[in-house]
Chain length 121, copies 2
């Protein structure tokens, strides 16, 4: 019962630097890779190999660590697929889906500031 609040979505778990909601968000999202992984998940990607194949070339150790950390934080869930127990599909939770406005705001800023960038299809 502690995990959700009516109408507010699941609570995200982490250690806090301050009571500022921006700081708390950055405690989880503040690095060069996490929101790219969220971008891929929002675009419908769900498998390890799909994340690895993205243009930025995320290193495998960083990818594995971020997936683990996002699952612990309650932002993604994983379910096994196929014959190999180690293969998993990753999906955004409600809290993860709620990151869409952040990714969109970054996309919009980037499109204006960096000539030659293009939003993914």
């Amino acid at each position: 019962m502690q995990a959700t609040q009516p109408g507010r979505g699941p609570r995200v778990r982490h250690a806090q630097r301050s009571i500022c909601p921006v700081a708390c968000s950055l405690d989880i999202l503040g690095d060069r890779w996490t929101l790219l992984l969220i971008r891929d998940l929002l675009l419908g990607k769900s498998r390890y190999g799909e994340f690895l194949a993205s243009a930025e070339g995320i290193p495998t150790n960083i990818l594995a660590e971020r997936l683990k950390r996002l699952e612990q934080a309650g932002i993604i869930t994983s379910t096994p697929y196929g014959n190999h127990a180690r293969r998993k599909e990753y999906r955004l939770t409600q809290a993860g889906e709620a990151l869409r406005p952040i990714v969109k705001a970054m996309r919009d800023w980037g499109l204006r500031q960096f000539p030659g960038t293009r939003a993914p299809d």
Copy 2:
């Protein structure tokens, strides 16, 4: 003349990982401190000591490095003040002001996800 485009604001300078605007934004903004500094600037703070005084306790070496990097990227400008040539006031450029929707989206997500957080006045 290369620095601005009509209606698009100054171009931000950096090395790119891909043509994705989210990735380009994260190349500059993707760490635990940069957007907190932007938050403080959006709230009207402009001096080194004001940034240091924020609740998260940014280390001085990180603060100095981020201010330098943001100025090089065209997101802030600095002007000397008072009798000490080394004392500077920092202000957001047009490209920096345009980060407001990103900070707001992080605030909104944080307020929903982290019980007990409170938006700054």
